[in-house]
Structure formats: C-alpha cells, structure tokens
C-alpha cells in the first residue's frame, strides 16, 4: 500500500493513502463534495467542474524546512479552485469545502449545468433518483448569491436565453433510450464502454454546445449496455424495459443475488404492486463491483407473465387448479405402489443451497440414487480449487478456455480490470473511491497476461496475447499439447507454444474453464492436471448458477442413478421443464414450475407453483465458492413456494421424515452441520468424492454454444435482441446443401426448433452452432435436420 499522508478537510484531519484524490479524502473525512462526472471504477477526468474546492499545501524553503507562519507551516493556497476528482492529496494538504468562495463556484456550476437542461423532471424516469436533482437542491441557488434582496424572489439563473432543443427520444437499442436534451456531458457512459467492457460503441459526436452522444453501431453491440443507465447522473439514458412504470420512490426494492450465471452479481430488484418492473446493479465489491450483464438486468419481463399461481392436478385428462392439500392427495395417490428407490428428484440449476439440502435429505431418506440438478456438467467443478476475483486480479497469467462474455459475464468485466493491471479498489470510510487516480482513460491492455481459446469467437479474445477459435471438442487435444503429451493441433502450434512459455514463467496462474471443457471429462481431467502442475487456481463457468454449491452438498446421482439428461425413475419430481423423452419415460410426474408450458399440460400429473430466483430466500455459492444471500422481492406469485416446501410435500406423501421442512431450518442445518460460513465468506468443503460419472457428453456435430440469455427470458425486448440462428462456416453450409437464409427444422434436446441458417466466415468447418440458451451449454449433439429449404 502507498505511504499514508495527513490531510485536513475543513476542521478534520485524516490519514489517507498517498495518491488518493482530494475528492475521496473529503468523503473519507465525512464531508460532502458535489460531483457529476466522477464515478466508482471509472477514470476521473475532471469534465464537469462540479467538484471545485479550495486546496493549499505547506511548502519547504531552500533550507529544506517548512516555511513557517506563527510557528505553524504556512499554507500556500492555490490561486484558483481545483477539481477535487483529479487532484491528488499531498502530505499536510489543507482542503476547504465550506467557504463562500467554494459555495459560490459550486452554485455557479449548477447554474451552468442546468442552463441547457430541460427540467422535465415530472415526466422523467430518473426523477427522485437523479444526481442532478440532488446536487441542484443541495448546492445550487445559494440565496446569498442569487437573491438580490430579501423581499424579492431569488433569481434562478443569471442567463436569459432559449435553451438548446435536440432529440428527446433516441432509441439506442431495444433496451436503452437516450434523451439528448437531458445529457450533461459527464462522459461517464463513453468512458464506461471503453474502460469496463471494452466495447467502444458510444462516443461524443460534434463539439462545444452541439456535443451529443451517439453510436454508429446498430443497437449497441455489447453484452453490458445496461450499466450506463445506472451511472448516467441524469435521465438521459433510460431502461426501456422499465420506461414509465413507476416513480423511483414507489418501487419496493430488494437487494439480492443474480442467478443468471455462476458469478453471483448483486442486483436490486424493483417491484411495484406485486410486479417485477426493473432490475438494477447493486454494489458487491468482492464480485461484480457495481456492474451487471444485460441478461441479469433486462431479462426479467418473463417473470410477470403466464405464471403458475396455484397447484394444478390432472382431472379427466386436464390440469385444473387445486389447493396444496389436493395436490398432496394427488401425489399420494400417484405414488401409491411406487418403490421409494424409484423416485427421482431433480432440481433446477439455480436452486439455493437450502433447496439442495432438502433434496439431499429427502433422497437419502428414500434411499434413491436418482437425484441431480439441471445443467450439471459431466465433470465436477468441485474437483478444482477455485480462484477468487481478488486472486484473479493478482495473477500473473490467465488462461481462458471458453467465452466469458456469455458464460460468466461478470468475469469478463473483472478480466478487463486484470488486463489493465488494476488492483482491487481501496476501501475508505465511504467505501470504494469515486475518483481513483490509478484508473486512466485508454489504459494499455497488458496482453501478455492473457491467453484465450474458444469454440466460438468471443470479444474477450481481443485482450489476449494469444488466442484462437478451435472446433468444439478440440479442448482435450489442446490441453494435451499444453501438458506436453501430444503435438499441438493443426494451426495452434504457435499460440500454444507461447502459452506454454508463459505458464512456465508465471508464478500465480488462474485457469478459466467454460462449459465446453467441463462437459468433456477427458478435457476436464487434463485441465485439472494442468492446474495441479502449474499451481493454478480455477474458475469454472458452469451453466448452472449454483453448480458449485449443489455439487458440494452432494447433489449428483448415486450409484446407478439417472442424471439430469437421462430418463430413468418411475416417479419424478422436476423443478424445471425436462425433455419430452424424460417426461414420456416416467409413470408419474410432478412438475414444480413457475410458468405454464404445453409440455406440462401434456404430461404433468401434478404441477406445483414455483418461485423464480427473485422470489427465493436462501444462499447460493458462486464460482469462487463465495456464499451469497438471496432475498425475496415483493413479487406476486400466488401460492408459489420453493423446492423446500415442495419436497416437504413429497416427503409427506411418501410418509418419510426429513429434517428439512422450512427454509430457515435448512439454513440452520447448513450452518451447524455443514459449517456454511457467513455471507460473502468462501465455503470450500473438501471434495465430495465424485469423479466423472458420464462418458464424454460431447460428441456430435451440433455445438450448443453458451449464451448469457436463457430460453425463458426471450420475451419482450429480449426477443428483439436475441436471435437464434443455426450458424456454420460457408464451406460447411455448402457441404450440407444449405445457404444463408434457409429455414431448417432442427431437433434439439429441448424440442424441435425452426431456425434460419446463417453462414459466418471464420468458424471451424464441419460443425454447426446453435445458441444453447440455458442448461445444455457446451454440449454437442448429433445435428438432426428434419426439413430444410429456401425461405
């Protein structure tokens, strides 16, 4: 850490690390300073001039001694006010934020900033949560300067002019709308795109008073566009999925954990009148800092529609609404005569640890080996020693096998910090610095610290010193070459030689593995050997959000049990929608669902109403092994309840006793018996003893490539952004008799889908790609094209 320096803010003297900005020293001392352009984790640039303060420092004379005045070091004040966000503190500095000179300057800046602002707060979604409103209220219009006479009304501005009028409803993408009149040119959004995701899709156009924000790229191509809505200090950038839904103070806000991927980003869920209306990023320094992916933010419109709100039982061949008691009766009847060992329990991949424990206790009591969770990879993630994000930033070399922007979006953003050589942000009295002077615009990317190989082109590759797109399934051969067991696959000789040398030369290595590797035991075992040999820690980008936690508890099939991709037991409980073949194979099916679905109408004997991840209480484990809390948001879901309650019902129907009937009981048991630590700590239980149970899960020529979007999220605005196409190289298309725009019917694990063919130059030949949109990510299946033809 830097040397500590003493600074005096008004009347308080504090110590801060050298290199801290004056702005953060002021906050650290407990005083306030207004700001618009500074923002956590972004470079301070001094654009808005709102944070003007007066600073002075002692000076040394030619004799090397402080120049004194009345026995004290004399303070030499800067001749003009300085912007606190871009000025570094120095030892002995004195900062004044309260004098008339400072207040006058700050209120003048508010006046100037409001000069061209439309002041349409009553119709602005940001109203009530707007930094410009707050700062104008606190720092604008100091009566002393703006009220010529106590008997007169204050002057609101000294200027009289027509305000600038520009585009007020400019749609940047289906998710984001821009109001150019409201923009105050703080440049936060522009800096954000360059610095955080590294997608330079937004920039200032023109100059001076004509400056506006624009993008030449259609629809902001980036997986991380939504964060600009959070950081825009005014209502210029707004969330289209939550437009005009409520005033900010009407929302019922809940901070919880995003179960959209295995990173466990913190989110704030805003509900109103029982409907989920908006999701924003929440701060979790250890994990997502203040950023989230677009899937975590905008993929919520499905939650409110078409919900299952009461249990449904089958009567006369039809599903009809019922009470939980009637459901219990129906289950009891249906399970009559079924051996306990012939009951299968299958949880969703985003289940909580509490639900996992309930499933485990129940299946143990039943003596059944049929248990699993959806999206479990063929090789256990618990087989790898996990790295934390802090360790990632500290690494000397990172090798990625996969696509972080799709598989674990938060990880891409942390890699962005890593590749710029940044360390975890300092923690001051007020938390993360608002103006961290270590962060600069356009920092050089330290490409020698990263290598990336993936089965599909990925934006993260642009930071890698060596990278390549390989055919899906080539991971094992690639890792074998790195282990020195085999020759490098064709075309990869040079990059792999570079990686080998970098691995040998680096002390702290982190390995990032995608679903493509984890679903291929042969490759995963090699990855483990490589990790052991290079002392690397590993981050597993699992398709299931809580894969590490559920695996650590032991929720995988016992000996002879059927896994989540197989059919097997006679009676089944699924907390998600399984494949049609699996439903067909079972004799009695309980589906625990959040939404109605034709397959459920066709096959389910009993449907229980489930909670979405936004409605659950409990805990999850992210890919670092960090315990993260889930809090239920105020969403109206009727009589829905989680798997703990549903499995309790099942236990009752089967006449077995389990120690877990309530979520709180489960939490207590986790803490007492399984030594689950407090939230934000890491839980790294010893290996569960499970090694690969599945044969190679990935053969076939159709690769289900990972995507950050899940199938159920494809409604509303998301449906306009996420297109599902069957992609392949032009040569592959020719050999298959296909061409761009052809329509084909394709048999996928989750059913038959009608897709358009799209050729993409540069994709490996001989394979086809289709977005997996969920649990099947990283697997390969046989490409079964049923019918095809020109559109």
């Amino acid at each position: 850490m830097d040397r500590m320096v003493r600074v005096t803010v008004n009347d308080r003297t504090v110590e801060v690390p050298g290199g801290t900005s004056v702005m953060d020293a002021i906050f650290h001392a407990g005083y306030d300073v207004p700001l618009f352009c500074a923002e956590k984790h972004l470079s301070p640039i001094g654009a808005c001039r709102m944070c003007l303060v007066k600073t002075g420092s002692p000076r040394k004379g030619p004799d090397g001694q402080f120049i004194l005045e009345n026995g004290q070091p004399k303070i030499f004040w800067m001749p003009k006010l300085s912007a606190a966000c871009i000025t570094a503190v120095s030892d002995g500095m004195v900062i004044d934020t309260l004098s008339d000179e400072v207040k006058h300057a700050q209120s003048g800046m508010v006046e100037l900033t409001l000069f061209n602002h439309p002041l349409d707060c009553p119709t602005c979604d940001k109203g009530g949560a707007c930094e410009l409103q707050d700062r104008s209220y606190e720092y604008g219009l100091v009566e002393k300067f703006y009220q010529p006479d106590p008997m007169e009304l204050p002057l609101y501005t000294r200027f009289e002019m027509t305000r600038r009028h520009v585009d007020k409803h400019h749609t940047l993408s289906p998710f984001i709308v821009l109001d150019r009149e409201r923009c105050i040119h703080c440049k936060r959004c522009v800096r954000y795109f360059e610095e955080i995701p590294g997608d330079e899709v937004l920039d200032f156009i023109e100059r001076g008073v004509h400056t506006f924000i624009n993008s030449e790229d259609d629809g902001l191509p980036s997986n991380f566009t939504g964060n600009i809505v959070d950081i825009c200090p005014v209502g210029a950038l707004l969330d289209q999925t939550a437009r005009f839904r409520a005033r900010n103070w009407e929302y019922d806000s809940t901070e919880t954990t995003s179960m959209d991927d295995a990173c466990g980003a913190a989110i704030t869920v805003d509900a109103r009148s029982g409907l989920l209306e908006r999701i924003r990023a929440a701060e979790r320094r250890e994990v997502n800092e203040v950023w989230i992916s677009d899937a975590a933010r905008f993929g919520h419109q499905w939650v409110n529609e078409n919900r299952v709100c009461t249990p449904l039982v089958r009567r006369d061949g039809k599903l009809v609404e019922a009470t939980w008691d009637e459901a219990l009766k129906a289950i009891r009847q249906g399970l009559d005569g079924v051996a306990p060992a012939d009951v299968g329990v299958y949880l969703a991949g985003n289940s909580t640890l509490e639900e996992g424990l309930a499933a485990l206790e129940l299946t143990a009591a039943l003596g059944t080996a049929h248990r699993d969770f959806q999206g479990r990879t063929a090789y256990p993630t618990t087989g790898f020693a996990p790295a934390s994000f802090e360790e990632l930033l500290d690494a000397e070399f990172v090798l990625v096998l996969g696509e972080p922007t799709e598989e674990a979006p938060t990880l891409h953003l942390r890699l962005s910090e890593y590749i710029r050589g940044l360390k975890p942000a300092a923690k001051l009295n007020h938390g993360t610095p608002f103006a961290d002077l270590n962060i600069k615009e356009r920092m050089p990317r330290l490409n020698h610290k990263l290598a990336l190989f993936s089965a599909y082109p990925t934006p993260t590759a642009r930071w890698a010193g060596a990278s390549a797109v390989h055919a899906p399934g080539a991971e094992a051969a690639l890792l074998a070459a790195l282990l020195g067991e085999a020759e490098a696959p064709a075309g990869l000789g040079e990059p792999l030689a570079w990686v080998k040398a970098r691995l040998a030369a680096s002390q702290r290595v982190v390995l990032v593995l995608g679903a493509g590797v984890l679903n291929q035991p042969e490759a995963a075992i090699k990855a483990r050997q490589l990790a052991e040999r290079s002392g690397a820690r590993v981050m597993c980008m699992t398709p299931a959000a809580n894969a590490r936690g559920l695996e650590a508890l032991g929720l995988f099939p016992g000996k002879g049990g059927a896994g989540w991709t197989e059919a097997g037991p006679r009676a089944v409980y699924y907390a998600y929608l399984p494949t049609e073949a699996q439903l067909k194979a079972a004799a009695f099916r309980i589906l625990h669902l959040t939404h109605r679905h034709p397959l459920a109408e066709k096959y389910a004997d009993v449907v229980l109403p489930n909670q979405t991840a936004y409605e659950k209480r409990g805990h999850t484990l992210n890919l670092e092994g960090r315990v993260l809390p889930l809090e239920p948001a105020g969403i109206n879901n009727g009589e829905a309840d989680g798997a703990v309650a549903a499995l309790g019902l099942l236990a009752e129907a089967l006449g077995v006793k389990t120690p877990v009937r309530l979520v709180r009981q489960a939490t207590r048991l986790l803490v007492e018996k399984h030594k689950l630590p407090a939230a934000l700590e890491r839980w790294l239980p010893k290996s569960t003893g499970w090694t690969a149970t599945e044969a190679d899960a990935t053969t076939g020529t159709l690769y289900l490539r990972p995507t950050m979007w899940r199938r159920e999220q494809r409604v509303g605005a998301v449906a306009r952004v996420v297109e599902i196409k069957l992609e392949m190289s032009p040569a592959t298309a020719r050999s298959q008799g296909l061409a761009d725009g052809y329509l084909v019917e394709l048999a996928l694990p989750e059913g038959v889908e009608r897709l358009e063919v799209k050729t993409v130059a540069g994709l490996p030949d001989g394979v086809m790609y289709v977005p997996a949109l969920g649990a099947w990510a990283g697997r390969r299946v046989e490409a079964k094209i049923l019918v095809g033809g020109e559109a």
């Binding site: 330079e200 023109e206 001076g208 993008s215 356009r442």
Partner: protein, 187 residues
C-alpha cells in the same frame, strides 16, 4: 475497393511515425482522415468504416474524432465550403445574421450543395480568431475576417467569378478596402 488498398506504402509510412502499440496505431487516425478528406472532399460512412477496420477500432470512435474537427466533412461539399464561426465572439459580432444572409443568398442549408456545385455552408466552433470576429473560412484557406454583409457578398461574387481568394478585394470603410488576407489595398 477500399480507399487505402493501393496506399499501403503510404499507410506503412504513417504507422512508422507512431509507437508499435494499439494506442500508437490509433494515432494514425488523424493522418488517415486527412488523407481521405483531401482526396475525396469528404469522408463517407464507408470510408469511416474502412478506417475503423484498419485501426482496430469502431466506426463510432472514428465519427467521434471526425466530428470534433470542422475540417473533416461527413457530407459532400461544394467547391467552396464556407464555414461560419458561430461561437461567442463571432455570435456577438453577428454570425447569426451572416448565416441567415448566406442561406438566403445561396438558397441552401447545412448539408446541401448549390446546384452549380460551387457552395456549401456550415457553422463551426471557435476558429481561434476572436479578435477579428466574425470569421468565415473557405475550405482550408486563411480566414476571411471582420466579415460584414457587404464583405460577404463581395466574397461570394469573387468566388463565383473564379477568382483565387487572395485576388478578391473586400469593401471596408471608404479608403480602407482590404484583401482577404487583411492587408489594406495599396499598402
């Protein structure tokens, strides 16, 4: 065909002037824009995209830099592109009235070119000659300073007659006619 396809040697020369890093490569943006502007009179979206491709950046980034400088044109221009400074000093000095006069006289707005292909007009930010406001600049030529309506008409007239800029005499107070360059006639 790309604009730079047959200018690879030139490109190499430009890149050689900057460090061999991603940042260094981006520094070539300005010379590349200038080259296109000089050769083609404007920088079309296709050219912007081409430059972005070569530099490994986005078209947005190119547009951002380009639009900051009034020298670069995103729309086709006439033979004489008249740029009227509209920032503070010139605004106070009557730039708006000059602009209206131009619009009236030429019958075009920003983005148009007169049917004879001679003129196009644009308001620009401070040209850095505030003490001689209002200022008009024709193409890349030296400024026309202290522009009045009478001087503007003389300027247009001169250009229409095909005179070179330095040949055009602008009216001033009687006995103070000046060349565009600013020297008094006869001095």
């Amino acid at each position: 065909m790309g604009f730079f396809d047959d200018k690879q040697d030139w490109l190499r020369g430009v890149f050689a002037q900057y460090p061999d890093t991603p940042q260094g490569r981006r520094a070539a943006l300005m010379p590349m824009l200038r080259r296109v502007q000089q050769d083609e009179g404007w920088i079309s979206p296709e050219r912007q995209e081409e430059i972005a491709q070569i530099l490994g950046t986005t078209a947005t980034e190119v547009a951002g830099v380009m639009s900051f400088y009034s020298y670069y044109q995103a729309l086709p221009t006439g033979k004489y592109h008249l740029q009227v400074c509209a920032t503070l000093s010139c605004a106070i000095g009557g730039a708006d009235e000059l602009w209206d006069e131009l619009v009236q006289e030429l019958g075009i707005l920003r983005g148009d070119v007169t049917p004879d292909g001679l003129f196009s007009i644009q308001k620009v930010e401070c040209l850095g000659s505030c003490h001689t406001a209002p200022v008009v600049q024709v193409n890349d030529e030296p400024y026309v300073e202290c522009v009045t309506k009478a001087r503007l008409h003389a300027l247009l007239q001169g250009l229409r007659e095909g005179k070179r800029l330095e040949e055009i005499v602008l009216p001033g107070k009687v006995g103070h006619e000046v060349h565009v360059r600013g020297e008094e006639v006869g001095v």
